[in-house]
């Protein structure tokens, strides 16, 4: 009985910390409509800062608490709001999610830079681990009591704030209608800033309280994910109700403790289950709780995409294959393998172009589907042994098929979900897979067969061989991956241009309207999710075999999130956006850090500078992710828009092509190094739009769009210009259809 009580209290304490973290999340969500994925990272940064002050610099504990919780926490929230969140109004769910994910990744990179991960850091309990009190036969640590008291205080404080103060009432109104708030004489920005400051403080508080309970050294990823567990609690309250959030947190905390306490010790997977329990609960809660109704009106968002025609996609695909082939001639085998690895990531990223760019649904764990394919391929698709072992074509097909089915199974319960909720469900799946399946290294015996899902923690995935095609050769691997990317890309463009693609687009723009037109949304979503999972599976399996061996870490949720973020940065509606996202997240980091580390070794006097630049670049990628808020359509969109000025500038383009050809020739013959080639090419690419703009800068004072066609003939050119300025899709097809009708 005593032990039961002890465990119950432990559960309550864990629940209390979850509750503190989750209420901060609810606070910012209700006032700004932004679900803050960076909440856990904020907690992590605060805790590291607390460690630095107290243990690093030996400040008295109370002083560092005041500084961290009282100053740094609120300041971090207010800054986030002022610099980033404020700019996220009128953006799509995807953009909001990606920006906060980028902040999370940026904070994790930053903390790993400041506090080197290999050093062990421990924070101790308040009043020490030995300060205990006996309550009715149960021994409780003072620290645990502090957690409970703080949680109760937070609960009461928030309740009073929201119902008894005008500021709190106004906060609740802010999410409905910020404009109406302004008409009532309030400043929505100030209110949102207040809520971000409070939310951030609660996150920091939760981080500091929970770290000593978990024990062990501070670790950035782990601490971030720990607070992410609180997402489940927040979801209990449907991101709105604080009391229900607290209840959810307590359920969560106690279940986790009981699982740890009462599951038989020889169930080796019980530990893994405990870790992934919050995500399982999150998944279940998402599915079981009633959902918001479909929004009736289409949201006016700032994102703009221009889908390519299948023909132009085919041309660009061929150009890509040719360019990669030429480029490969310049590279040595090692670089080619790295390049090929990046290309396989790009294939995974294509799954996002389809799912997010075309259908408007979000999958935050694309690499987890890659993991499913890898496991299937490893167990069922390999022939031969040792160096002669090869992945078979049938194995690849089977793996892709299984992944599609798993994708369907994951999506099936989640089909009712939309936007943020579906994103969270996929993330829950990803974390669950990482914790339960990819860590399952022990042997099981089931129906007389002994096996282990992830033996030794690494899978050796051999390269694919089809007839004479042996992907062990890096060049063949690279070209195969590139051709596959191009083929899938062209296929996607064709899909987007088909009736099916237009149905997807309709679902993305206005689910309610699409449903009213008789579309079966569930079927549509199910199909597109399976297709997207299959693409991710193919890319993931190729990635595993390109690298030779993979561990569970290769599929970690942080890597998935980085891939999603960079694909959105590139332009989620564009196939080239997937290429950018895949290459940068797959191998960009490695190359950046590797290059600067090489430089550092080569020039010992400049070592620290080079290393710093390498780290800065990594953090900078997260910064461009945050920039998505300013430019939600993506980088590729900008580049394409830039090149639009060059239309018709034949001489300029031909000249540029000639210069590029000369550069390539010089690089091939070894006159200039590869780096010079890369840098000069980049300069050329950047300079072209500038030149184009200068050419086009001839003073054209154009009529504003609403007056166009009044004083001048309504030509096709004018119509095209209007389409472009208003961000409407190309008219070609409609024009063609119209002429057909006219003939008829």
């Amino acid at each position: 009985m005593t032990s039961f009580l002890t465990f119950t209290i432990l559960g309550l304490v864990l629940g209390a910390v979850y509750a503190i973290a989750a209420s901060g999340l609810v606070l910012t969500y209700t006032t700004s409509g932004i679900f803050n994925f960076a909440h856990g990272a904020q907690a992590m940064l605060g805790t590291f800062l607390y460690w630095q002050l107290t243990y690093g610099w030996g400040w008295p504990m109370w002083l560092s608490l005041v500084v961290v919780v009282g100053l740094a926490g609120p300041a971090m929230g207010a800054l986030l709001h002022m610099l980033i969140m404020r700019g996220l109004r009128e953006t799509a769910d995807v953009t909001k999610i990606v920006v906060t994910v980028a902040i999370m990744l940026g904070m994790v990179y930053l903390s790993q830079w400041i506090w080197h991960p290999e050093e062990a850091r421990v924070t101790e309990m308040f009043f020490g681990a030995n300060a205990k009190i006996e309550l009715g036969g149960v021994v409780v640590r003072v620290h645990e009591l502090v957690c409970l008291v703080v949680a109760v205080a937070v609960a009461i404080g928030l309740r009073l704030l929201f119902t008894r103060t005008r500021a709190g009432v106004v906060m609740r109104g802010a999410v409905d209608d910020p404009d109406l708030l302004r008409l009532n004489g309030h400043d929505p920005d100030r209110i949102a800033m207040l809520s971000w400051a409070m939310g951030s403080t609660l996150a920091v508080l939760a981080g500091i309280l929970v770290t000593p309970i978990g024990g062990g050294a501070l670790e950035a990823n782990q601490l971030t994910l720990l607070v992410i567990d609180a997402f489940a609690a927040a979801m209990f309250g449907r991101l709105r109700s604080i009391p229900r959030t607290f209840t959810g947190a307590m359920v969560l905390g106690m279940t986790a403790t009981y699982v740890m306490a009462y599951f038989p010790t020889d169930w080796t997977w019980a530990g893994n289950l405990r870790v992934s329990l919050p995500m399982i609960i999150l998944f279940v809660v998402l599915i079981v709780l009633p959902q918001d109704r479909l929004r009736v009106a289409a949201v006016r968002t700032r994102e703009r995409y221009r889908p390519p025609t299948p023909r132009s996609a085919a041309v660009w695909g061929a150009a890509l294959v040719a360019a990669v082939f030429l480029l490969a001639l310049l590279l040595d085998d090692g670089s080619i393998t790295t390049f090929a690895l990046g290309m396989t990531f790009a294939i995974v990223a294509l799954s996002l172009t389809l799912l997010t760019g075309y259908a408007g649904e979000l999958n935050l764990a694309p690499l987890s589907f890659g993991a499913v394919a890898t496991i299937t391929g490893f167990h069922f698709g390999v022939t031969g042994s040792g160096l002669a072992s090869r992945l078979t074509l049938w194995g690849v097909l089977l793996a892709v098929l299984v992944t599609a089915v798993v994708g369907g199974l994951v999506a099936l319960p989640a089909l009712r979900l939309r936007g943020l909720y579906l994103a969270l469900a996929t993330m829950a799946f990803g974390v669950f897979l990482s914790n339960m399946v990819l860590r399952d290294t022990t042997e099981h015996t089931l129906f007389g067969v002994t096996f282990s899902i992830f033996p030794n923690g690494t899978l050796i995935v051999p390269p694919l061989q089809v007839g004479p095609f042996d992907l062990r050769d890096p060049r063949t691997l690279l070209m195969t991956a590139t051709v596959l990317f191009a083929l899938i890309g062209v296929g996607l463009a064709a899909l987007r241009a088909s009736g099916y693609g237009r149905r997807l687009a309709a679902m993305k723009d206005s689910p309610a309207a699409a449903a009213m037109l008789g579309q079966n949304l569930v079927k549509l979503k199910f199909g597109v999710f399976m297709l997207s999972a299959a693409i991710a599976g193919l890319g993931g399996l190729l990635m595993a075999s390109a690298g030779g061996s993979v561990s569970g870490d290769n599929f970690a949720i942080m890597s998935s999130l980085a891939l999603v973020m960079l694909t959105v940065v590139g332009g989620i509606g564009y196939i080239s956006g997937a290429l950018f996202g895949g290459l940068v997240s797959g191998v960009g980091f490695t190359i950046m850090v590797g290059t600067f580390n090489d430089l550092a070794t080569a020039h010992p006097s400049m070592e620290s500078i080079y290393k710093t630049i390498g780290q800065l670049l990594v953090v900078a990628t997260a910064l461009i992710g945050m920039g998505v808020g300013k430019n939600p359509s993506g980088t590729v969109h900008d580049i394409v828009e830039g090149y639009r000025t060059l239309r018709g500038a034949r001489a300029l383009l031909a000249g540029a092509a000639a210069v590029e050809a000369v550069l390539y020739g010089l690089a091939l013959t070894g006159v200039i190094g590869n780096w010079w080639f890369a840098i000069l090419t980049a300069c050329l690419v950047m300079a072209l739009p500038v030149a184009g703009r200068m050419r086009a800068a001839a003073p054209v004072r154009r009529t504003p769009p609403e007056l166009a066609g009044v004083a001048e003939p309504y030509s096709d050119e004018l119509r095209e210009r209007l389409d472009r300025e208003l961000g409407l899709p190309a008219r070609e097809r409609m024009a063609k259809e119209a002429s057909v009708h006219a003939v008829a």
């Binding site: 009432v169 109406l180 302004r182 008409l183 004489g185 609403e706």
Partner: protein, 235 residues
Amino acid sequence: MNEQAPLLELTGVRAAYGPIQVLHGVDLRVHPGSVVALLGPNGGGKSTTMKVCAGLLPLTGGELRLAGRRVNGITAQDAARLGICSIPEGRGVFPNLTVRENLWAATGTGARLADLEEAAYTRFPILGERRHQLAGSLSGGQQQMLALSRALGTDPVILLLDELSMGLAPMIVTRMYETVAQLVAEGLSVLVAEQFARAVLPIADTAALMLHGRVVASGRPGDIEDQLSSSYLGG
């Protein structure tokens, strides 16, 4: 009365949503204690004019004057504190706050909650009965009453009403305008945008007809009503 300086004056006001210009030079005056009805077909720019007056949409040209002072670029919250009470089209309440909390939010301009509650519950007793009900679950008419209550207790200088009649039964519309008429009798100035002129013309002193982002005619309500029908029928 026209010798007095106008309380609210728009001269050549232009405004745009992104690249699309919607107001092409609007001229309009509201004199103290008068009711100006802004009429016109859908898409004429009435709501946009209201937004400009309330500070929600910046001007791209022309002048906005409040009591003779040029206030171009004023923010909505400052306008509200200066006494411009604007009830926007369709949704003048916070659906997820209770009736009482809605009134509380309305005290952002400096009024006292108790005064607001008293004024609202006396005028619309039904609101008093429902004070702890979520505004979103009130009927359309009750929601408009709640929205209008903001004008009752905060003592504004000028009231901007956009499409008060939208989706309401004629009887309720009449009652709402009775309330407005009473406020006017107490000295309030009102600018009201309506598509359907019948409801508002009886209490209006001046009417202005808006077409394609311009005020094309203004004058006595009766005269404008005659022009109105022709503009609806494709004039």
